[in-house]
Protein backbone atom coordinates (compact mmCIF):
# COMPACT_ATOMS: atom_id res chain seq x y z
CA UNK A 1 0.00 0.00 0.00
CA UNK A 2 2.85 2.38 0.85
CA UNK A 3 4.41 1.64 -2.51
CA UNK A 4 1.13 2.32 -4.33
CA UNK A 5 0.70 5.53 -2.38
CA UNK A 6 4.04 6.67 -3.72
CA UNK A 7 3.07 5.74 -7.27
CA UNK A 8 -0.21 7.65 -7.25
CA UNK A 9 1.45 10.79 -5.90
CA UNK A 10 3.95 10.99 -8.75
CA UNK A 11 3.34 13.53 -11.49
CA UNK A 12 2.48 12.28 -14.97
CA UNK A 13 5.93 13.46 -16.13
CA UNK A 14 7.64 11.44 -13.37
CA UNK A 15 5.50 8.38 -14.15
CA UNK A 16 6.43 8.69 -17.82
CA UNK A 17 10.14 8.75 -16.96
CA UNK A 18 9.93 5.75 -14.66
CA UNK A 19 7.88 3.82 -17.22
CA UNK A 20 10.38 4.58 -19.98
CA UNK A 21 13.24 3.50 -17.71
CA UNK A 22 11.25 0.32 -16.90
CA UNK A 23 11.49 1.00 -13.15
CA UNK A 24 7.73 0.50 -12.92
CA UNK A 25 5.10 -1.07 -15.19
CA UNK A 26 1.99 0.52 -16.64
CA UNK A 27 -0.10 -2.26 -15.07
CA UNK A 28 1.27 -1.41 -11.62
CA UNK A 29 0.47 2.26 -12.12
CA UNK A 30 -3.00 1.63 -13.51
CA UNK A 31 -3.81 -0.87 -10.75
CA UNK A 32 -2.58 1.59 -8.10
CA UNK A 33 -5.01 4.19 -9.42
CA UNK A 34 -7.87 1.69 -9.65
CA UNK A 35 -7.16 0.71 -6.02
CA UNK A 36 -7.21 4.35 -5.01
CA UNK A 37 -10.52 4.87 -6.81
CA UNK A 38 -11.95 1.85 -4.98
CA UNK A 39 -10.67 3.22 -1.67
CA UNK A 40 -11.81 6.86 -1.86
CA UNK A 41 -14.37 7.38 -4.61
CA UNK A 42 -17.21 6.34 -2.34
CA UNK A 43 -16.53 9.62 -0.55
CA UNK A 44 -15.45 11.82 -3.46
CA UNK A 45 -17.77 10.51 -6.22
CA UNK A 46 -15.54 11.82 -8.98
CA UNK A 47 -16.32 8.90 -11.30
CA UNK A 48 -19.58 7.95 -13.02
CA UNK A 49 -18.01 4.89 -14.62
CA UNK A 50 -14.79 3.00 -13.94
CA UNK A 51 -13.17 1.33 -16.94
CA UNK A 52 -10.90 -1.13 -15.14
CA UNK A 53 -10.65 -3.98 -17.66
CA UNK A 54 -9.90 -1.86 -20.70
CA UNK A 55 -7.45 0.35 -18.78
CA UNK A 56 -5.52 -2.68 -17.53
CA UNK A 57 -5.52 -4.23 -21.02
CA UNK A 58 -4.03 -1.06 -22.54
CA UNK A 59 -1.47 -0.91 -19.72
CA UNK A 60 -0.51 -4.55 -20.31
CA UNK A 61 -0.10 -3.84 -24.01
CA UNK A 62 2.28 -0.96 -23.26
CA UNK A 63 4.26 -3.16 -20.87
CA UNK A 64 4.52 -5.92 -23.49
CA UNK A 65 5.74 -3.48 -26.13
CA UNK A 66 8.35 -2.06 -23.75
CA UNK A 67 9.47 -5.52 -22.68
CA UNK A 68 9.91 -6.62 -26.30
CA UNK A 69 11.98 -3.54 -27.07
CA UNK A 70 12.97 -2.56 -30.59
CA UNK A 71 11.32 -0.05 -32.88
CA UNK A 72 7.82 -0.44 -31.45
CA UNK A 73 9.10 0.39 -27.96
CA UNK A 74 11.08 3.34 -29.31
CA UNK A 75 7.98 4.71 -31.01
CA UNK A 76 5.80 4.64 -27.89
CA UNK A 77 4.43 8.03 -26.94
CA UNK A 78 6.09 9.64 -23.93
CA UNK A 79 2.81 9.29 -21.97
CA UNK A 80 2.20 5.66 -23.02
CA UNK A 81 0.99 3.78 -19.96
CA UNK A 82 0.14 6.94 -17.97
CA UNK A 83 -3.55 6.65 -17.01
CA UNK A 84 -6.15 9.35 -17.53
CA UNK A 85 -9.78 10.09 -16.64
CA UNK A 86 -12.22 11.59 -19.15
CA UNK A 87 -15.04 14.01 -18.41
CA UNK A 88 -18.34 12.31 -19.18
CA UNK A 89 -19.26 14.98 -21.72
CA UNK A 90 -16.71 13.48 -24.12
CA UNK A 91 -17.83 10.42 -26.06
CA UNK A 92 -16.03 7.10 -25.80
CA UNK A 93 -16.57 3.73 -27.44
CA UNK A 94 -16.90 0.93 -24.89
CA UNK A 95 -18.06 3.07 -21.96
CA UNK A 96 -21.33 4.87 -21.33
CA UNK A 97 -21.46 8.63 -21.95
CA UNK A 98 -24.16 10.35 -19.91
CA UNK A 99 -23.25 14.06 -19.93
CA UNK A 100 -24.42 13.89 -16.30
CA UNK A 101 -28.01 13.69 -17.57
CA UNK A 102 -30.84 11.20 -17.15
CA UNK A 103 -31.68 11.74 -20.80
CA UNK A 104 -28.50 9.86 -21.78
CA UNK A 105 -28.43 7.29 -18.98
CA UNK A 106 -26.75 4.14 -20.25
CA UNK A 107 -26.10 5.56 -23.73
CA UNK A 108 -23.03 4.26 -25.58
CA UNK A 109 -21.52 6.35 -28.33
CA UNK A 110 -20.81 4.53 -31.61
CA UNK A 111 -17.68 6.69 -32.05
CA UNK A 112 -14.77 8.16 -30.11
CA UNK A 113 -14.14 11.88 -29.73
CA UNK A 114 -10.98 12.99 -31.54
CA UNK A 115 -9.26 13.67 -28.22
CA UNK A 116 -10.11 10.12 -27.10
CA UNK A 117 -8.70 8.71 -30.35
CA UNK A 118 -5.52 10.63 -29.58
CA UNK A 119 -5.36 9.21 -26.04
CA UNK A 120 -5.75 5.75 -27.51
CA UNK A 121 -3.07 6.41 -30.13
CA UNK A 122 -0.74 7.46 -27.29
CA UNK A 123 -1.75 4.26 -25.44
CA UNK A 124 -2.89 6.05 -22.31
CA UNK A 125 -5.14 3.77 -20.20
CA UNK A 126 -8.54 5.43 -19.71
CA UNK A 127 -9.54 4.93 -16.06
CA UNK A 128 -13.15 5.99 -16.50
CA UNK A 129 -15.61 8.83 -16.97
CA UNK A 130 -15.86 11.70 -14.52
CA UNK A 131 -18.85 13.47 -13.04
CA UNK A 132 -20.09 16.90 -14.16
CA UNK A 133 -23.00 19.26 -13.95
CA UNK A 134 -25.66 18.07 -16.39
CA UNK A 135 -24.50 18.95 -19.94
CA UNK A 136 -21.71 20.96 -18.24
CA UNK A 137 -24.22 23.52 -16.96
CA UNK A 138 -23.07 24.58 -13.52
CA UNK A 139 -20.22 25.61 -11.26
CA UNK A 140 -20.47 22.96 -8.54
CA UNK A 141 -21.37 19.50 -10.05
CA UNK A 142 -24.52 19.71 -7.93
CA UNK A 143 -26.53 19.74 -11.16
CA UNK A 144 -25.34 16.22 -12.05
CA UNK A 145 -28.29 13.83 -12.31
CA UNK A 146 -26.08 11.26 -10.57
CA UNK A 147 -25.33 13.22 -7.39
CA UNK A 148 -22.61 15.75 -6.62
CA UNK A 149 -18.86 15.26 -6.47
CA UNK A 150 -17.22 16.20 -3.17
CA UNK A 151 -14.15 18.40 -2.82
CA UNK A 152 -11.22 16.27 -1.57
CA UNK A 153 -10.08 19.19 0.63
CA UNK A 154 -13.39 19.19 2.50
CA UNK A 155 -16.01 16.64 1.54
CA UNK A 156 -18.84 18.99 2.52
CA UNK A 157 -17.78 21.47 -0.13
CA UNK A 158 -18.21 21.77 -3.89
CA UNK A 159 -15.36 20.71 -6.19
CA UNK A 160 -16.29 23.43 -8.68
CA UNK A 161 -17.99 22.81 -11.95
CA UNK A 162 -18.88 21.79 -14.36
CA UNK A 163 -15.76 19.62 -14.43
CA UNK A 164 -15.72 18.94 -10.69
CA UNK A 165 -15.30 15.22 -11.29
CA UNK A 166 -12.12 15.61 -13.34
CA UNK A 167 -10.61 18.13 -10.91
CA UNK A 168 -11.53 16.10 -7.82
CA UNK A 169 -10.21 12.87 -9.40
CA UNK A 170 -6.83 14.52 -9.95
CA UNK A 171 -6.81 16.27 -6.54
CA UNK A 172 -7.74 13.03 -4.71
CA UNK A 173 -4.97 11.10 -6.53
CA UNK A 174 -7.56 8.98 -8.34
CA UNK A 175 -5.92 9.92 -11.66
CA UNK A 176 -2.73 11.75 -12.62
CA UNK A 177 -4.43 13.45 -15.56
CA UNK A 178 -7.94 14.16 -16.80
CA UNK A 179 -9.75 15.81 -19.66
CA UNK A 180 -12.17 18.64 -19.05
CA UNK A 181 -14.29 21.02 -21.08
CA UNK A 182 -14.48 24.77 -20.48
CA UNK A 183 -17.38 26.92 -21.73
CA UNK A 184 -17.25 29.67 -19.09
CA UNK A 185 -14.65 28.32 -16.65
CA UNK A 186 -15.53 24.62 -16.24
CA UNK A 187 -11.87 23.55 -16.32
CA UNK A 188 -10.28 26.52 -14.54
CA UNK A 189 -12.74 27.14 -11.68
CA UNK A 190 -12.73 23.48 -10.50
CA UNK A 191 -8.93 23.63 -10.74
CA UNK A 192 -8.92 26.70 -8.50
CA UNK A 193 -11.13 25.25 -5.76
CA UNK A 194 -9.40 21.84 -5.69
CA UNK A 195 -5.79 23.06 -5.74
CA UNK A 196 -5.07 21.60 -9.18
CA UNK A 197 -4.04 22.86 -12.62
CA UNK A 198 -6.49 23.32 -15.50
CA UNK A 199 -6.06 24.84 -18.93
CA UNK A 200 -8.56 26.19 -21.42
CA UNK A 201 -6.66 26.26 -24.72
CA UNK A 202 -7.19 28.84 -27.45
CA UNK A 203 -10.61 28.32 -29.04
CA UNK A 204 -10.05 25.82 -31.86
CA UNK A 205 -6.71 24.67 -30.46
CA UNK A 206 -8.13 21.29 -29.41
CA UNK A 207 -10.78 19.50 -31.49
CA UNK A 208 -14.32 19.58 -30.14
CA UNK A 209 -15.39 16.59 -32.28
CA UNK A 210 -17.07 14.23 -29.84
CA UNK A 211 -17.59 16.74 -27.02
CA UNK A 212 -21.36 16.96 -26.52
CA UNK A 213 -21.95 20.61 -27.35
CA UNK A 214 -23.34 23.11 -24.87
CA UNK A 215 -22.39 26.45 -26.49
CA UNK A 216 -20.43 25.74 -29.66
CA UNK A 217 -18.77 29.14 -29.94
CA UNK A 218 -17.50 28.97 -26.34
CA UNK A 219 -16.80 25.26 -25.61
CA UNK A 220 -13.20 24.06 -25.48
CA UNK A 221 -11.65 20.75 -24.35
CA UNK A 222 -8.49 21.02 -22.26
CA UNK A 223 -6.13 19.35 -19.78
CA UNK A 224 -6.60 18.85 -16.03
CA UNK A 225 -3.56 17.87 -13.94
CA UNK A 226 -1.59 18.40 -10.74
CA UNK A 227 1.34 20.25 -12.33
CA UNK A 228 1.82 22.81 -15.10
CA UNK A 229 4.21 20.52 -16.98
CA UNK A 230 1.69 17.66 -16.87
CA UNK A 231 -0.96 19.88 -18.48
CA UNK A 232 1.51 20.82 -21.20
CA UNK A 233 2.27 17.14 -21.85
CA UNK A 234 -1.45 16.33 -22.14
CA UNK A 235 -2.21 19.45 -24.20
CA UNK A 236 0.41 18.28 -26.67
CA UNK A 237 -1.35 14.88 -26.99
CA UNK A 238 -4.83 16.29 -27.64
CA UNK A 239 -4.01 19.55 -29.47
CA UNK A 240 -3.62 20.29 -33.15
CA UNK A 241 -5.77 20.43 -36.24
CA UNK A 242 -8.71 18.08 -36.79
CA UNK A 243 -10.55 18.16 -40.13
CA UNK A 244 -13.68 16.80 -38.39
CA UNK A 245 -14.11 20.05 -36.43
CA UNK A 246 -14.69 22.97 -38.79
CA UNK A 247 -13.64 25.42 -36.06
CA UNK A 248 -10.31 23.63 -35.47
CA UNK A 249 -7.34 25.92 -36.07
CA UNK A 250 -5.04 24.78 -38.87
CA UNK A 251 -1.96 26.17 -37.09
CA UNK A 252 0.74 23.71 -36.05
CA UNK A 253 0.93 23.12 -32.30
CA UNK A 254 3.67 24.98 -30.46
CA UNK A 255 6.12 23.10 -28.25
CA UNK A 256 4.18 23.58 -25.02
CA UNK A 257 6.26 21.07 -23.08
CA UNK A 258 9.43 22.99 -23.88
CA UNK A 259 7.67 26.17 -22.72
CA UNK A 260 6.80 24.54 -19.39
CA UNK A 261 10.32 23.13 -18.96
CA UNK A 262 12.10 26.40 -19.75
CA UNK A 263 9.78 28.67 -17.80
CA UNK A 264 11.19 32.17 -17.55
CA UNK A 265 9.50 35.49 -16.82
CA UNK A 266 12.49 37.81 -16.88
CA UNK A 267 11.61 41.01 -18.69
CA UNK A 268 8.04 39.83 -19.28
CA UNK A 269 5.18 42.22 -18.71
CA UNK A 270 2.39 40.73 -16.64
CA UNK A 271 -0.85 42.70 -16.50
CA UNK A 272 -3.19 42.82 -13.53
CA UNK A 273 -6.75 43.23 -14.77
CA UNK A 274 -8.19 46.06 -12.70
CA UNK A 275 -11.74 44.76 -13.04
CA UNK A 276 -10.94 41.19 -11.95
CA UNK A 277 -9.91 41.58 -8.35
CA UNK A 278 -10.68 43.68 -5.31
CA UNK A 279 -14.34 44.24 -4.55
CA UNK A 280 -16.32 41.00 -4.49
CA UNK A 281 -13.22 38.85 -4.04
CA UNK A 282 -12.63 37.00 -0.76
CA UNK A 283 -9.80 38.46 1.35
CA UNK A 284 -7.81 35.21 1.38
CA UNK A 285 -8.06 35.04 -2.40
CA UNK A 286 -6.76 38.60 -2.71
CA UNK A 287 -3.87 37.91 -0.31
CA UNK A 288 -2.64 34.85 -2.20
CA UNK A 289 -3.07 36.71 -5.49
CA UNK A 290 -0.95 39.63 -4.28
CA UNK A 291 1.77 37.26 -3.03
CA UNK A 292 1.93 35.63 -6.46
CA UNK A 293 2.46 39.05 -8.01
CA UNK A 294 5.36 39.69 -5.63
CA UNK A 295 6.94 36.36 -6.52
CA UNK A 296 6.70 37.05 -10.24
CA UNK A 297 8.17 40.52 -9.70
CA UNK A 298 11.03 38.93 -7.76
CA UNK A 299 11.66 36.60 -10.70
CA UNK A 300 12.17 39.57 -13.01
CA UNK A 301 8.70 40.20 -14.40
CA UNK A 302 7.33 43.69 -14.69
CA UNK A 303 3.85 44.01 -13.20
CA UNK A 304 1.60 46.51 -14.97
CA UNK A 305 -2.07 47.35 -14.49
CA UNK A 306 -4.50 47.07 -17.39
CA UNK A 307 -8.15 47.99 -17.57
CA UNK A 308 -10.82 45.98 -19.37
CA UNK A 309 -13.88 48.18 -18.81
CA UNK A 310 -16.26 46.01 -20.81
CA UNK A 311 -15.63 42.91 -18.71
CA UNK A 312 -18.46 44.12 -16.46
CA UNK A 313 -20.85 43.14 -19.26
CA UNK A 314 -19.23 39.75 -19.84
CA UNK A 315 -21.31 37.76 -17.36
CA UNK A 316 -24.60 39.16 -18.68
CA UNK A 317 -23.61 38.63 -22.31
CA UNK A 318 -22.45 35.12 -21.50
CA UNK A 319 -25.81 34.28 -19.92
CA UNK A 320 -27.48 35.28 -23.19
CA UNK A 321 -25.11 33.68 -25.71
CA UNK A 322 -24.51 30.43 -23.84
CA UNK A 323 -28.23 29.58 -23.24
CA UNK A 324 -29.08 30.60 -26.81
CA UNK A 325 -26.55 28.17 -28.23
CA UNK A 326 -27.42 25.52 -25.63
CA UNK A 327 -31.14 25.67 -26.45
CA UNK A 328 -30.29 24.97 -30.09
CA UNK A 329 -27.73 22.27 -29.35
CA UNK A 330 -30.03 20.43 -26.96
CA UNK A 331 -32.93 20.38 -29.43
CA UNK A 332 -31.49 17.10 -30.72
CA UNK A 333 -32.64 15.27 -27.58
CA UNK A 334 -36.01 14.45 -29.05
CA UNK A 335 -36.62 10.91 -27.77
CA UNK A 336 -36.15 9.46 -31.26
CA UNK A 337 -32.51 8.97 -32.21
CA UNK A 338 -30.86 8.24 -28.87
CA UNK A 339 -31.38 8.38 -25.17
CA UNK A 340 -34.52 8.40 -23.14
CA UNK A 341 -38.07 8.19 -24.51
CA UNK A 342 -40.94 8.88 -22.14
CA UNK A 343 -44.55 8.43 -23.22
CA UNK A 344 -47.16 10.87 -21.92
CA UNK A 345 -49.47 9.24 -19.38
CA UNK A 346 -52.64 10.06 -21.26
CA UNK A 347 -53.82 11.44 -24.55
CA UNK A 348 -52.57 10.81 -28.09
CA UNK A 349 -48.98 9.61 -28.58
CA UNK A 350 -47.79 12.23 -31.03
CA UNK A 351 -44.12 13.11 -31.47
CA UNK A 352 -44.79 16.56 -29.99
CA UNK A 353 -46.19 15.12 -26.81
CA UNK A 354 -43.57 12.38 -26.57
CA UNK A 355 -40.84 15.00 -26.90
CA UNK A 356 -42.47 17.17 -24.26
CA UNK A 357 -42.71 14.29 -21.80
CA UNK A 358 -39.21 12.99 -22.61
CA UNK A 359 -37.52 16.34 -22.14
CA UNK A 360 -39.54 17.06 -18.99
CA UNK A 361 -38.36 13.79 -17.40
CA UNK A 362 -34.85 13.70 -18.88
CA UNK A 363 -33.57 17.23 -18.22
CA UNK A 364 -32.86 18.67 -14.78
CA UNK A 365 -33.85 22.12 -13.52
CA UNK A 366 -30.72 24.02 -14.58
CA UNK A 367 -30.84 22.59 -18.11
CA UNK A 368 -34.50 23.55 -18.40
CA UNK A 369 -33.75 27.05 -17.11
CA UNK A 370 -31.06 27.57 -19.72
CA UNK A 371 -33.11 26.13 -22.58
CA UNK A 372 -36.03 28.44 -21.72
CA UNK A 373 -33.71 31.43 -21.29
CA UNK A 374 -32.06 30.68 -24.65
CA UNK A 375 -35.40 30.22 -26.37
CA UNK A 376 -36.44 33.60 -24.94
CA UNK A 377 -33.24 35.39 -26.02
CA UNK A 378 -33.62 34.05 -29.56
CA UNK A 379 -37.33 34.70 -29.94
CA UNK A 380 -38.77 37.24 -32.37
CA UNK A 381 -38.87 40.72 -30.89
CA UNK A 382 -36.11 40.06 -28.38
CA UNK A 383 -33.34 38.81 -30.65
CA UNK A 384 -31.72 42.21 -31.31
CA UNK A 385 -31.99 43.39 -27.72
CA UNK A 386 -30.58 40.20 -26.24
CA UNK A 387 -28.61 37.93 -28.53
CA UNK A 388 -27.59 40.74 -30.90
CA UNK A 389 -26.41 42.97 -28.05
CA UNK A 390 -24.53 40.13 -26.43
CA UNK A 391 -22.63 39.49 -29.64
CA UNK A 392 -21.62 43.14 -29.73
CA UNK A 393 -20.38 42.86 -26.16
CA UNK A 394 -18.23 40.00 -27.40
CA UNK A 395 -16.57 42.40 -29.79
CA UNK A 396 -16.00 44.91 -26.97
CA UNK A 397 -14.42 42.21 -24.81
CA UNK A 398 -12.10 41.19 -27.64
CA UNK A 399 -11.09 44.83 -28.05
CA UNK A 400 -10.39 45.09 -24.31
CA UNK A 401 -8.13 42.05 -24.58
CA UNK A 402 -6.39 43.47 -27.67
CA UNK A 403 -5.67 46.72 -25.83
CA UNK A 404 -4.52 44.89 -22.69
CA UNK A 405 -2.15 42.66 -24.66
CA UNK A 406 -0.52 45.75 -26.14
CA UNK A 407 0.60 46.61 -22.62
CA UNK A 408 1.27 43.12 -21.26
CA UNK A 409 2.48 39.74 -22.54
CA UNK A 410 0.26 37.81 -20.15
CA UNK A 411 -2.64 38.85 -17.91
CA UNK A 412 -3.23 37.64 -14.38
CA UNK A 413 -6.22 37.49 -11.99
CA UNK A 414 -7.68 35.24 -9.33
CA UNK A 415 -9.44 32.34 -11.08
CA UNK A 416 -12.56 32.52 -8.91
CA UNK A 417 -13.77 35.17 -6.47
CA UNK A 418 -14.04 32.74 -3.56
CA UNK A 419 -12.75 29.41 -2.32
CA UNK A 420 -14.98 26.32 -2.41
CA UNK A 421 -18.39 26.92 -0.83
CA UNK A 422 -20.57 24.38 0.96
CA UNK A 423 -22.61 21.89 -1.03
CA UNK A 424 -26.17 23.21 -1.23
CA UNK A 425 -25.23 26.78 -0.32
CA UNK A 426 -26.00 28.33 -3.73
CA UNK A 427 -28.15 25.63 -5.25
CA UNK A 428 -31.37 27.62 -4.97
CA UNK A 429 -29.87 30.90 -6.11
CA UNK A 430 -28.91 30.53 -9.80
CA UNK A 431 -27.55 34.07 -9.99
CA UNK A 432 -25.17 33.59 -7.05
CA UNK A 433 -23.98 30.39 -8.71
CA UNK A 434 -23.34 32.19 -12.02
CA UNK A 435 -21.12 34.78 -10.28
CA UNK A 436 -18.46 32.09 -9.68
CA UNK A 437 -17.49 32.38 -13.32
CA UNK A 438 -17.06 36.15 -13.41
CA UNK A 439 -13.26 35.96 -13.88
CA UNK A 440 -13.16 33.01 -16.24
CA UNK A 441 -15.92 33.93 -18.73
CA UNK A 442 -14.07 36.75 -20.58
CA UNK A 443 -11.53 34.26 -21.99
CA UNK A 444 -14.29 32.12 -23.53
CA UNK A 445 -16.03 35.17 -24.96
CA UNK A 446 -12.82 36.22 -26.73
CA UNK A 447 -11.42 32.75 -27.47
CA UNK A 448 -8.14 33.41 -25.67
CA UNK A 449 -6.37 30.69 -23.65
CA UNK A 450 -6.36 30.58 -19.84
CA UNK A 451 -4.60 28.51 -17.18
CA UNK A 452 -5.43 28.15 -13.50
CA UNK A 453 -2.83 26.97 -11.01
CA UNK A 454 -2.88 26.69 -7.21
CA UNK A 455 -1.87 29.92 -5.46
CA UNK A 456 -2.01 28.66 -1.86
CA UNK A 457 -4.62 28.35 0.85
CA UNK A 458 -6.90 31.17 1.99
CA UNK A 459 -6.23 32.34 5.57
CA UNK A 460 -9.86 32.34 6.65
CA UNK A 461 -10.80 28.78 5.63
CA UNK A 462 -7.59 26.94 4.67
CA UNK A 463 -8.99 26.13 1.22
CA UNK A 464 -7.20 26.38 -2.15
CA UNK A 465 -7.05 29.63 -4.11
CA UNK A 466 -6.57 29.66 -7.89
CA UNK A 467 -4.40 32.04 -9.92
CA UNK A 468 -5.46 32.57 -13.53
CA UNK A 469 -3.10 33.43 -16.37
CA UNK A 470 -4.46 34.62 -19.73
CA UNK A 471 -2.58 34.96 -23.02
CA UNK A 472 -3.44 36.20 -26.51
CA UNK A 473 -5.10 33.73 -28.89
CA UNK A 474 -2.66 31.11 -30.20
CA UNK A 475 -0.09 32.02 -27.51
CA UNK A 476 -0.88 29.13 -25.16
CA UNK A 477 2.87 28.54 -24.69
CA UNK A 478 3.12 31.76 -22.67
CA UNK A 479 0.73 30.33 -20.08
CA UNK A 480 3.00 27.34 -19.55
CA UNK A 481 6.14 29.49 -19.48
CA UNK A 482 4.78 31.78 -16.77
CA UNK A 483 2.76 29.09 -14.99
CA UNK A 484 5.80 26.86 -14.53
CA UNK A 485 7.78 29.72 -12.97
CA UNK A 486 5.04 30.72 -10.56
CA UNK A 487 4.43 27.08 -9.62
CA UNK A 488 8.09 26.45 -8.79
CA UNK A 489 8.38 29.68 -6.76
CA UNK A 490 5.23 28.84 -4.78
CA UNK A 491 6.25 25.23 -4.19
CA UNK A 492 9.63 26.41 -2.93
CA UNK A 493 7.76 28.49 -0.34
CA UNK A 494 5.38 25.69 0.62
CA UNK A 495 8.16 23.08 0.73
CA UNK A 496 6.35 20.88 -1.82
CA UNK A 497 3.15 20.67 -3.85
CA UNK A 498 0.05 22.28 -2.34
CA UNK A 499 -1.77 18.93 -2.50
CA UNK A 500 0.63 17.60 0.18
CA UNK A 501 -1.49 19.64 2.60
CA UNK A 502 -4.78 18.02 1.51
CA UNK A 503 -6.43 15.39 3.74
CA UNK A 504 -5.42 11.81 2.92
CA UNK A 505 -9.07 10.62 2.68
CA UNK A 506 -8.05 7.13 3.85
CA UNK A 507 -6.96 7.83 7.44
CA UNK A 508 -10.34 6.87 8.89
CA UNK A 509 -11.81 5.24 5.85
CA UNK A 510 -11.82 1.48 6.32
CA UNK A 511 -15.62 1.47 6.15
CA UNK A 512 -15.75 3.85 3.20
CA UNK A 513 -13.32 1.70 1.23
CA UNK A 514 -15.49 -1.35 1.75
CA UNK A 515 -18.59 0.43 0.53
CA UNK A 516 -17.04 2.30 -2.39
CA UNK A 517 -18.50 1.67 -5.79
CA UNK A 518 -16.18 0.02 -8.27
CA UNK A 519 -18.48 -0.04 -11.27
CA UNK A 520 -20.79 2.41 -12.91
CA UNK A 521 -23.21 4.65 -11.13
Amino acid sequence: MTENNELIRLSAAALAEKLAAREITAVEVTQAYLDRIAAVDGKVHAFLHVNADEALAVAAEVDAIRAAGGAAAEELHVLAGVPIAVKDLIVTIGQPTTAGSKILEGWHSPYDATVVERLRAAKMPILGKTNLDEFAMGSSTEHSAYGPTHNPWDLDRIPGGSGGGSAAAVAAFEAPLALGTDTGGSIRQPGAVTGTVGVKPTYGGVSRYGAIAMASSLDQIGPVSRTVLDSALLHQVIGGHDPRDSTSLPDPLEDLVAAARTGNVEGMKIGIIKELHGEGYQAGVENRFNESLELLKGAGAEIVEVSCPNFKYALGAYYLIMPSEASSNLAKFDGVRYGLRVLPEQGPLTIERVMGATRAAGFGDEVKRRIILGTYALSAGYYDAYYGSAQKVRTLIQRDFDAAFEKADVLISPTAPTTAFKLGEKLNDPLAMYLNDVATIPANMAGVPGLSLPGGLADEDGLPVGIQLLAPARQDARLYRVGAVLESLLEAQWGGPLLDKAPSLTATSAAAAASSHGGSH
Binding site: H108, Y111, T202, Y203, G204, S217, L218, P243, S246, T247, L249, N310, Y313, G316, A317, Y319, L320, A331, G335, V336, R337, Y338, G339, L340, R341, P344, P348, L349, T350, I351, R353, M355, G356, R359, A360, F363, K368, R369, I371, I372, L373, T375, Y376, S379, Y382, A385, Y386, S389, A390, Q391, K392, V393, R394, T395, L396, Q398, P430, L431, G447, A473
Partner: protein, 98 residues
Protein backbone atom coordinates in the same frame (compact mmCIF):
# COMPACT_ATOMS: atom_id res chain seq x y z
CA UNK B 1 -37.12 45.31 -22.33
CA UNK B 2 -40.21 43.62 -21.07
CA UNK B 3 -40.08 41.48 -17.96
CA UNK B 4 -40.69 37.77 -18.33
CA UNK B 5 -43.95 36.44 -16.87
CA UNK B 6 -45.58 33.08 -16.31
CA UNK B 7 -47.45 33.12 -19.63
CA UNK B 8 -44.18 33.82 -21.45
CA UNK B 9 -42.56 30.85 -19.75
CA UNK B 10 -45.49 28.60 -20.65
CA UNK B 11 -45.19 29.66 -24.28
CA UNK B 12 -41.40 29.24 -24.30
CA UNK B 13 -41.68 25.79 -22.71
CA UNK B 14 -44.02 24.80 -25.50
CA UNK B 15 -41.60 26.10 -28.14
CA UNK B 16 -38.77 24.22 -26.43
CA UNK B 17 -40.83 21.00 -26.17
CA UNK B 18 -40.59 20.73 -22.40
CA UNK B 19 -43.76 19.82 -20.55
CA UNK B 20 -44.03 21.84 -17.33
CA UNK B 21 -46.27 21.55 -14.30
CA UNK B 22 -48.05 24.58 -12.89
CA UNK B 23 -45.67 24.62 -9.95
CA UNK B 24 -42.65 24.43 -12.27
CA UNK B 25 -43.95 27.33 -14.37
CA UNK B 26 -44.38 29.49 -11.26
CA UNK B 27 -40.88 28.76 -10.00
CA UNK B 28 -39.24 29.13 -13.42
CA UNK B 29 -41.00 32.46 -14.06
CA UNK B 30 -39.66 33.83 -10.77
CA UNK B 31 -36.11 32.62 -11.38
CA UNK B 32 -35.97 33.76 -14.99
CA UNK B 33 -37.28 37.21 -14.09
CA UNK B 34 -34.27 37.67 -11.79
CA UNK B 35 -31.83 36.37 -14.40
CA UNK B 36 -33.29 38.43 -17.24
CA UNK B 37 -33.18 41.52 -15.05
CA UNK B 38 -29.49 40.92 -14.34
CA UNK B 39 -28.54 40.66 -18.02
CA UNK B 40 -30.50 43.76 -19.10
CA UNK B 41 -27.46 46.04 -18.99
CA UNK B 42 -26.03 44.17 -21.96
CA UNK B 43 -28.37 45.94 -24.35
CA UNK B 44 -26.96 49.31 -23.29
CA UNK B 45 -23.29 48.32 -23.53
CA UNK B 46 -22.61 48.72 -27.23
CA UNK B 47 -23.61 51.33 -29.75
CA UNK B 48 -24.81 50.74 -33.31
CA UNK B 49 -21.28 51.14 -34.63
CA UNK B 50 -20.00 48.02 -32.88
CA UNK B 51 -20.09 44.92 -35.09
CA UNK B 52 -21.36 41.62 -33.67
CA UNK B 53 -18.96 38.73 -33.03
CA UNK B 54 -20.49 35.30 -33.53
CA UNK B 55 -17.27 33.39 -33.36
CA UNK B 56 -14.12 34.11 -31.37
CA UNK B 57 -11.64 33.08 -34.06
CA UNK B 58 -13.41 33.13 -37.42
CA UNK B 59 -12.34 30.70 -40.12
CA UNK B 60 -13.87 30.96 -43.57
CA UNK B 61 -14.57 28.38 -46.27
CA UNK B 62 -13.66 25.34 -44.24
CA UNK B 63 -14.20 22.63 -46.82
CA UNK B 64 -12.98 19.12 -47.39
CA UNK B 65 -12.56 17.10 -50.56
CA UNK B 66 -15.90 16.01 -51.98
CA UNK B 67 -15.32 12.31 -51.40
CA UNK B 68 -17.17 9.81 -49.26
CA UNK B 69 -15.67 9.79 -45.79
CA UNK B 70 -16.45 7.69 -42.75
CA UNK B 71 -20.07 6.62 -42.46
CA UNK B 72 -21.84 4.78 -39.69
CA UNK B 73 -23.62 1.50 -40.39
CA UNK B 74 -27.39 1.41 -39.85
CA UNK B 75 -26.73 -0.80 -36.84
CA UNK B 76 -24.37 1.77 -35.28
CA UNK B 77 -26.75 4.63 -35.99
CA UNK B 78 -29.66 2.81 -34.40
CA UNK B 79 -27.65 1.47 -31.44
CA UNK B 80 -28.89 4.20 -29.08
CA UNK B 81 -32.41 4.60 -30.47
CA UNK B 82 -35.27 4.07 -28.02
CA UNK B 83 -37.26 2.36 -30.78
CA UNK B 84 -36.33 1.04 -34.22
CA UNK B 85 -38.04 -1.03 -36.90
CA UNK B 86 -36.46 -2.79 -39.88
CA UNK B 87 -33.29 -0.71 -39.86
CA UNK B 88 -35.04 2.61 -39.30
CA UNK B 89 -35.81 4.93 -36.40
CA UNK B 90 -39.37 4.41 -35.27
CA UNK B 91 -40.99 7.80 -34.73
CA UNK B 92 -44.29 8.40 -32.90
CA UNK B 93 -47.14 9.82 -35.00
CA UNK B 94 -46.25 13.20 -36.46
CA UNK B 95 -49.90 14.33 -36.72
CA UNK B 96 -52.69 14.04 -34.23
CA UNK B 97 -55.57 11.88 -35.42
CA UNK B 98 -58.03 14.74 -35.62
Amino acid sequence: MAAINRDDVAHLAQLAHIEMSAEELDRMAGELAVIVDSVKSVSEAAGDDVPATSHPIPLTNVFREDVVGHTFTAEQSLSGAPDAYEGRFKVPAILDED
